[in-house]
């Protein structure tokens, strides 16, 4: 491992500087789990090999240029010698190296990073892909949320990835490989963060107009904190306290909102948009398209299309006061 790190420093100055220099939010090579750690090690090993192979070929070409005035190989020798090199370097060496790679990656690494069979982990959670947001369910509880996945740190969580419409791909680069969400199939991927933090993920399979705005974040937190969060998520929405909030709820239930959104504890049980029971507890709106602030929420409700052209949520042409009331209500859904 350390040897590899050393080698990488030598071989990869360009890439390494680049990788070190950048934000790590979605970096496959900044692992936050054993699984992703193994995968990035696999990468660095292949990368080292690749640069060596590349150097050999470029070197040969340069030699050919240096030697352009003389017949025969630089080190002397003609057809036979050259053919021997082709056979050794072109057939034998690669067969050995590639077979080794096969065994290492496709038998060992693949096993040690694979999704566990159902029911073998402490926790299972369901993520359902929608055009274009992520519905997150915690089996065994009422909790339903969207685009923000909380998991306990140092715990193996089995994610069951399914889709409600087209093919999406669930991918949290710092935690594990990606897994496609395919109609009619139940795929799994293992999340097991070995440190607390927020890890960004994004839909990796082209899923239509707003494929670019289908991100999510995984929050890995201490078990106690996670349990508190989950308990709150499982509760129905808090009742409105101020008059504004009450009016907001009226608007929410009377206008089209409730046709698409669910707020548990009210009559709103729409299934098309994200569950808003605890929307105020989330840090972003529209699958990480905009931050979840009073101002943005206001503009979003006014005209969602300006942020996410083609999103299913229409502009309901509400008056400013109605929107203000809605904002007040939604911001109260902690």
């Amino acid at each position: 491992m350390t040897g590899v790190r050393g080698a990488r420093g030598v071989l990869l100055t360009f890439a390494v500087l680049a990788l070190a220099g950048c934000a790590d939010k979605q970096n496959t090579l900044a692992p936050a789990s054993k699984q992703e750690g193994r995968i990035s090690t696999l990468f660095w090993i292949m990368m080292a090999g690749a640069w060596i192979g590349f150097a050999i070929i470029v070197g040969l070409l340069v030699l050919g240029w240096v030697n352009r005035r003389r017949e025969g190989l630089p080190g002397g020798g003609g057809e036979r010698a050259a053919t021997r090199i082709v056979i050794v370097m072109g057939v034998f060496v690669p067969i050995v190296l590639l077979s080794t790679l096969f065994v290492y990656s496709n038998i060992f690494v693949v096993k040690s990073t694979a999704a566990p069979p159902p029911g073998t982990t402490v926790r299972t959670l369901g993520v359902v892909g929608h055009q274009w947001f992520w519905e997150v369910r915690y089996p065994g509880t009422e909790a339903v949320t969207a685009n923000e996945i909380h998991i306990p740190v140092n715990t193996r969580v089995n994610v069951v990835a399914t889709t409600d419409d087209v093919i999406h791909s669930f991918w949290v680069p710092q935690l594990n490989r990606k897994i496609d969400m395919i109609p009619g199939r139940e795929n799994r991927v293992l999340l097991a963060a070995d440190r607390t933090g927020v890890f960004r993920g994004e839909c990796a399979e082209f899923c239509g107009l707003q494929h670019a705005h289908m991100s999510m974040q995984v929050v890995a937190e201490p078990v106690a904190k996670f349990k508190r969060w989950l308990a709150n998520m499982a509760r129905p929405a808090p009742a409105p306290t101020s008059s504004d909030e009450r009016r907001g709820r009226e608007v929410f239930l009377s206008k089209a909102c409730s046709g698409c959104h669910t707020v548990r504890g009210t009559d709103a049980a729409g299934k098309i948009g994200p569950d808003l029971t605890h929307v105020a507890s989330r840090s972003t709106l529209a699958a990480l398209t905009i931050p979840n602030t009073r101002d943005y929420l206001f503009r979003w409700i006014h005209d969602p299309q300006q942020f996410k052209e083609g999103v299913k949520m229409p502009s309901l042409h509400l008056t400013d006061s109605e929107v203000n009331a809605l904002v007040a209500y939604l911001r109260s859904l902690k």
């Binding site: 192979g53 072109g90 590639l98 496609d180 494929h211």
Partner: protein, 634 residues
């Protein structure tokens, strides 16, 4: 030597001129069956599509130059990247390498006077043209294909994609597939049967081995795509259930069939490039290829093993590992034919006295980029790593190094290399080398950073990306690179156009190439060879005694066949002289048939099935008319 063969004033040569001459003017081009003219038609058409695809690429890069930019609306972006892929693969690289290079060169390299089925050759071109126009009409009507070039269902089904966009894609590609199939059949039979006497399989130029491999791959790969597209259209138009899980269908069926075609496709794209490289390297290294038999087999092996790797495009679909390992194993081993070739090329360069003129420079660039793309390709055979990086810009970088670096660079090199043969004039060397360096730097700048930006998490096919993920600077570099690259390509175009009119006369053999096309005048006469050459090695132009003997035959009228519109055939394995066959002359039917076929698909597109049926009858009718006139009546 060969010069005598071309004595134009000789009565036999004049007779050949009369026999093989075709009608001049636009009508001549519409009815031509001359493989050289058809090759040129392919060449200019594919260049036009290359331009279109390039503009699409520049628009895409411009949109992605900065985060959150609004140059293109999302739907436009999706149509552009889909059409870019479809254009570059189906309307540029494949028709350019097989249609243009293959058509023009294969008969010249094997010493024949035309392809085995000249009229079918014309038909392939007209069908190809039809498919291209078909797809682009869609784009200009605002219905460009918009579900990605691999068009995954259910996104491509009517429920999620109600417009005709995907229908333009599917029907256009069916037509394109028919065209490629016919072309492939033609190449296989031509290479099997029309080789000059003495050209046994072991004396066949490597370019022809590449074209043979490509054609065989097409023959067995295209049906999968055709069936897949038929399934798709039946699902979209009349609600068949192949892909609907609820009713026993499976979206992955589409992916299996698509990649069963589309991975061999990748090798179909690069194989002719190998062929071009193996033509250019010996000429400028002034020696025969090292490990010739191994390289020949390697070309066939790539095409063959390419059929056993398709599911490595589906590693992230959750298929059982025990299914995936088969494809991972093949994916690793398919690398080896390429390593063989890469070492054979570099060894030939080292062992010879290479003269680094523009064509060889482009091949040098090709080797560098091909190795780079190949090495990142190996990584995708490691299932866990593939699942980490698939559908990211790391993949985009990989396949652009292969498709642009490894397929288009040899095409550019080949354009320079055979330009004197086709036009009779020399290109401008200085400009050519400048264009190489521009293209080389441009390619590296455009595609290398994509590796990094992919590794740090940028998925492919996003029309925009947020600031603050560390992607901005790389994307900007890529965009700058793409413009440099475009400049390089424009310089190539300028050089060729300029040299076409004011280049120095080239003579029959400016580079002293090894294969038969260099034994005849530039541009080649309609009949290609006054005396059908008799061959005793894979580099006949370097066997001067043989050529001298050929020259003598003109007087004696041996192997000249000036009596009729004829060319000799030989046995498949050992190139033993077999019989003389009458070659058909120009015919109006291929273009007519293609026209009706295209109209039939238009009718399917707008769901007028009865009228489509009528056009299909007209297709059969044209087929009958076509065969009513038989070659010997020419």
């Amino acid at each position: 030597m060969a010069v005598d063969v071309r004595a134009p004033e000789h009565p036999r040569v004049q007779r050949l001129e009369q026999v093989w001459e075709e009608r001049p003017g636009i009508l001549g081009w519409l009815t031509t069956v001359d493989h050289k003219r058809i090759g040129l038609l392919y060449f200019f058409t594919t260049l036009a599509f290359f331009g279109a695809g390039g503009i699409e690429a520049l628009l895409i890069r411009t949109q992605l130059a900065q985060p959150e930019s609004k140059v293109l609306a999302p739907d436009t972006f999706n149509e552009l990247f889909t059409t870019h892929g479809v254009t570059m693969i189906f309307l540029f690289v494949i028709p350019m390498t097989t249609g243009a290079f293959g058509n023009y060169l294969v008969p010249l390299m094997i010493g024949s006077r035309d392809m085995a089925f000249p009229r079918m050759n014309a038909l392939s071109y007209w069908l190809f043209l039809g498919s291209g126009i078909f797809i682009y009409i869609g784009l200009f009507m605002g219905f460009g294909p918009n579900a990605g070039w691999f068009d995954y269902v259910p996104l491509a089904l009517r429920h999620f994609n109600p417009g005709p966009n995907v229908d333009f894609y599917a029907l256009g590609l069916i037509l394109n597939g028919v065209s490629s199939t016919l072309a492939a059949i033609n190449f296989i039979v031509t290479i099997f049967k029309l080789r000059a006497p003495g050209m046994s399989l072991n004396r066949m130029p490597l370019f022809c081995f590449a074209m043979l491999a490509v054609s065989l791959a097409l023959i067995f790969a295209l049906p999968a795509l055709t069936i897949d597209l038929v399934f798709l259209e039946l699902s979209r138009k009349v609600g068949f259930q192949f892909f609907i899980p609820g009713n026993g269908g499976d979206p992955l069926l589409w992916q299996h069939l698509f990649w069963l075609f589309a991975h061999p496709e990748v090798y179909i794209i690069v194989l002719p490039a190998f062929g071009i490289a193996t033509s250019i390297i010996p000429t400028f290294a002034k020696r025969r290829m090292i490990a010739f038999p191994l390289v020949a087999l390697a070309e066939l092996l790539v095409a063959f093993i390419g059929f056993g790797v398709w599911a490595h495009h589906m590693f992230a679909t959750g298929l059982p590992t025990i299914t995936l390992v088969f494809f991972a194993a093949a994916t690793l081993m398919v690398v080896i034919p390429s390593t063989i070739q890469v070492y054979a090329w570099t060894m030939t360069v080292s062992a010879g006295r290479p003269e680094f003129r523009a064509p060889l420079l482009f091949i040098g660039g090709f080797i560098v980029f091909f190795v780079m793309g190949g090495l990142s390709g190996i990584m995708f055979a490691a299932i866990p790593f593939d699942q980490a990086t698939t559908d990211t810009y790391f993949v985009v970088a990989h396949f652009h190094f292969i498709i642009f670096g490894a397929a288009v660079f040899p095409i550019l090199g080949g354009m320079y290399y055979w330009f004197p043969k086709v036009t009779g004039r020399l290109y401008h060397e200085g400009l050519a080398q400048l264009s190489f360096w521009l293209a080389f730097v441009g390619t590296a700048l455009t595609f290398f950073p994509m590796h990094i930006v992919g590794l740090i998490g940028m998925p492919r096919r996003v029309y925009t990306y947020p600031h603050g993920l560390g992607w901005d600077s790389y994307n900007l570099i890529e965009t700058i690179g793409s413009y440099i690259l475009a400049a390089g390509l424009l310089l190539v175009a300028f050089n060729l156009i300029y040299s076409r009119f004011s280049g120095a006369p080239a003579g029959p053999d400016p580079f002293h190439g090894g294969t038969l096309e260099w034994t005849i005048p530039s541009p080649p006469p309609h009949y290609n060879f006054a005396v059908i050459p008799t061959v005793s090695s894979a580099y006949p132009n370097w066997d001067e005694p043989d050529r001298a003997v050929d020259a003598g035959k003109l007087e004696r009228g041996e192997l000249t066949y000036e009596a009729g519109h004829e060319t000799p055939t030989s046995t498949v394995r050992d190139g033993v002289f077999d019989e003389v066959v009458d070659m058909p002359s120009e015919s109006p039917w291929p273009v007519t048939l293609a026209f009706f076929a295209a109209l039939a698909l238009v009718m399917v597109l707008i769901s007028h099935y009865a009228i489509a049926g009528i056009f299909l009858l007209l297709v059969l009718f044209s087929l009958a008319g076509w065969h009513w006139k038989e070659p010997q009546e020419a």
